[in-house]
Amino acid sequence: MTAGQLPRWVDLGLIPFLNLAAAFLVSGLVVILIGENPLEAVQILVWGSLGYGEGIGFTLFYATNFIFTGLAVAVAFHAGLFNIGGEGQAYIGGLGVAMACLALDGIVPWYLTLPFAIVGSAAMGAAWAFIPAWLQATRGSHVVITTIMFNFIASSLMVYLLNGLLKEEGSMQPETRTFEDGGRLPFLNDLFPSFGFGYAPVNLSLFVALAACLLVWLLIWRTKLGYEIRSFGANATAAVYAGISPVRTIVITMLISGGLAGMMAINEIMGSQHRLLIDFVTGYGFVGIAVALMGRAHPVGIILAAILFGMLYQGGAELSFEMPNITRDMIIVIQGLVILFAGALEYMFRPAIIRLFTPALKAKEA
């Protein structure tokens, strides 16, 4: 046992738990301040998200989105890049999904459309990340600035396309026509009726997301490319010393990151909405940053964090329905507190816990 090291269960279990507990404690105080009972609020939140099949279904549906955007941010993190553009990349990724579905939905069944939708969404998301990546790699334009600006461009571009080129003829809505069965992923409720997911839109994309987790894990920790990405992120000077090209690493990492963000559109467009529409991303790209932070940029952590944020989304919706005093904004406050304690203040309790454990560790060594 070397300096400052804690047992694994403390590092990976106790500390995140304490962070979460602190977040909920402060949230509870806020709830008291607006005159509601915090215990009751927690009850509603947990029941609403995990208490019954449909609630779980919604939680998992949201979690699927968060897994994709969380992975996108995490991959970029490993190269020391902060991809804030998940929002825009996911939005443009929707184009790829829609093009595959619109072209194939009347001809082939969904399982033949799906590979094209995956490739299409990833390619579009990656393409949207390419320009910021290229500018960062060759001109030093900071990727935080450029990706966030590309979110706005994506938004305008999609409004333009959905009002013109992609709009269904004769429709007043800025959206494409609704896909036929060949462009719709099966709902899990139809596949596993016994779970009773009801009308929850959780669909087959959940498994695509879990597969993406496995692939990202393999990429980052088991391939040469992942080794190069992590080297560059941890110490760019040492990476150059090792003959790793910064331009190549930045561009490839951002392409992968953008592709993962783009794949979020599969869940929303092919899995739930069955048409391409305005503003379907609504913040999932940004919450992905929090998910990646809280999940320590590790796929397993991201799955757990994605479920937590899925719970907050779903349970929060129930909560604002049951307790009108607690508005949608309050839920965002609670999310903010979770991000604050689990992300920004991640190490707040650490020194105290190290002090607490040091005598015990010494006793063990002696």
């Binding site: 070397t2 400052g4 391939t223 080297s231 110490n235 010393y241 003959g243």
Partner: protein, 517 residues
């Protein structure tokens, strides 16, 4: 003997987490003496001095300054008690004048002008009293490091320091500058100041101190009068066993050149020529040392040859292949493919990724080798086995390939880098500062490995600012000054001769340069 000591420490203890950096340290520093503190890296010297200067608080123990028991909560308090510190890395504002730097933080008034005038006359007095001549209006960035250090000393004296702590003061100085510093310290001592000198260089301790305290692994193992001890005894106290200060080696048997550099010129990002028309060769079976004060182009030379930095012009011949460095786009990976190994000067910044495990670092730069891959994935079992072999062969401690390299000591980190580069058996090895910040035991080992490699018929280019190291290892010595190679000497070069060359003094026109020594 009844005189109260300038500083007395009693049973000082300090821990960082589970690391016990200072254990029951007792120290008595006599007033008006030069007291050396020597120890390997990580022995706890810097921690102890940081406690004295108020950066850290001791967990336990008492500090007495001038016989008074004190607590030192911050460096401001330390200054108020007359303790001044000259840091290893200077704390100067580069684009301020000497005067402004001296006054910085001690302006005395809201309006600068009055303070500056007062400071100017005070500075004049200090200069006369201690022979510390510096132009008060010169900008720091225009001054050589030796003078910058003088400004640091002036800063401390301006704040009426009676006790001066110098942390590794000669690391960046030429031998001549170091000698001058020692003269200044003598003057300070004669004026009644107390000097605490922290170093790991035995020669300095012997040359200048009155008393020397030796630290080892957080403990004070001995305090002796310098005149009653020897380098060998001190080295033994530091390491806990006797060590060889000389490198045992046979005369070199150089063969054909393996690396030839001609007319190499390198320009840095500011557009300044840092390597100027340098040509030399390294033959198989010899160690060519490049001596020089740091910042005279050696680092850039090494990085250019390693493929990290691009050259303006120049041709490199390696293993018979000719490369035009001015136009080539070869990177570090390409140079490794041409059988060139590289131990970089700064292992923390370049040689290792400290958040990676030991086994991950053991393939840095060689990770594309097909031997380490199985299909699309890396073959971790082969990589780990390779790491374990290197750990065993180089006695890297702790012998745990899963540990992050940040948790290894400096010497063991350096062994990790050396093992990685040497075990690929390159024809040419570039080595920068192989023993910087490395303890004596590891230095011995590293030097032996380099000589073994030479005896196996490889060509080694060694860059070091440690003249002792250059002289101990090299079969030929090239001296760099201001980007040029200003001289070549044989294996038995005189230290004084090299020192003058390093200072840019051509030995042939020595008589014209009255100013140096």
């Amino acid at each position: 003997m009844s005189e109260t000591p300038a500083i007395e420490l009693r049973k000082i203890n300090k821990s960082f987490g589970p690391v016990h950096a200072n254990k029951d340290i007792d120290l008595v520093v006599k007033k008006g003496s030069i007291h050396g503190i020597i120890g390997e890296n990580g022995a706890g010297k810097s921690t102890l001095m940081s406690i004295l200067y108020g950066f850290y608080q001791a967990d336990k123990g008492d500090i007495f300054v001038d016989g008074q028991k004190v607590t030192i909560p911050d460096s401001k308090a330390a200054i108020a008690m007359g303790i001044g510190m000259v840091h290893q890395h200077f704390m100067l504002v580069d684009n301020f004048s000497v005067l402004e730097n001296v006054v910085l933080g001690a302006e005395d008034s809201q309006l600068l002008a009055g303070g500056l005038t007062r400071a100017r006359s005070e500075l004049k007095r200090l200069e006369d009293e201690y022979e510390l001549r510096v132009d008060p209006d010169a900008l720091i960035e225009d001054l050589p490091v030796g003078l910058q250090q003088r400004v640091e000393i002036l800063k401390a004296l301006y704040r009426s320091a009676e006790i001066l702590i110098l942390d590794e003061p000669t690391g960046v100085l030429t031998p001549a500058e170091a000698d001058h510093l020692f003269k200044i310290l003598e003057v300070l001592k004669n004026e009644g100041k107390t000097v605490l000198l922290i170093t790991h260089k035995l020669r300095e301790i012997m040359a200048i101190t009155d008393t020397v305290s030796v630290m080892r692994r957080g403990e004070m193992v001995a305090t002796v009068e310098t005149e009653h001890t020897s380098m060998e005894q001190l080295a033994e106290l530091m390491v806990g066993r006797s060590v060889l200060l000389r490198v045992d080696k046979k005369p070199a048997e150089p063969q054909a050149p393996v690396m030839e550099v001609s007319n190499l010129t390198v320009t840095d990002s500011r557009g300044v020529q840092v390597v100027k028309d340098v040509s030399f060769e390294v033959r198989a079976g010899e160690i060519v040392g490049i001596a020089g004060v740091s910042g005279n182009g050696q680092s850039e030379l090494l990085e250019t040859l390693a493929g990290i930095r691009s050259a303006t012009t120049g041709v490199l011949k390696i293993n018979g292949e000719t490369i035009d460095l001015g136009t080539s786009t070869l990177d570090a990976a390409d140079m490794r493919d041409k059988s060139m190994g590289h131990v970089p000067e700064d292992r923390h910044r370049m040689g290792l990724i400290n958040s990676f495990t030991e086994y991950e670092n053991s393939i840095l730069g060689y990770h594309r080798d097909p031997a380490y891959s199985k299909g699309l994935l890396m073959d971790l079992s082969v990589i780990k086995k390779n790491a374990v072999d290197e750990i065993e062969k180089y006695d890297i401690r702790p012998p745990n390939p899963m540990l992050k390299t940040a948790n290894f000591s400096g010497g063991n980190q350096q062994k990790i880098v050396l093992a990685r580069e040497i075990e690929r058996d390159p024809e040419v090895l570039l080595v920068g500062q192989p023993t910087r910040g490395v303890d004596i035991g590891a230095i011995e080992f590293i030097h032996r490995r380099l000589v073994e490699m030479r005896d196996a018929g490889k060509g080694i280019l060694l860059v070091s600012v440690e003249l002792d190291e250059i002289r101990a290892l090299s079969d030929r010595v090239l001296v760099m000054f201001d980007g040029r190679i200003v001289g070549e000497r044989g294996a038995n070069a005189e230290e004084g001769d090299l020192g003058l060359l390093m200072a840019g003094v051509d030995t042939n026109s020595k008589s014209l340069e009255g100013g140096v020594q």
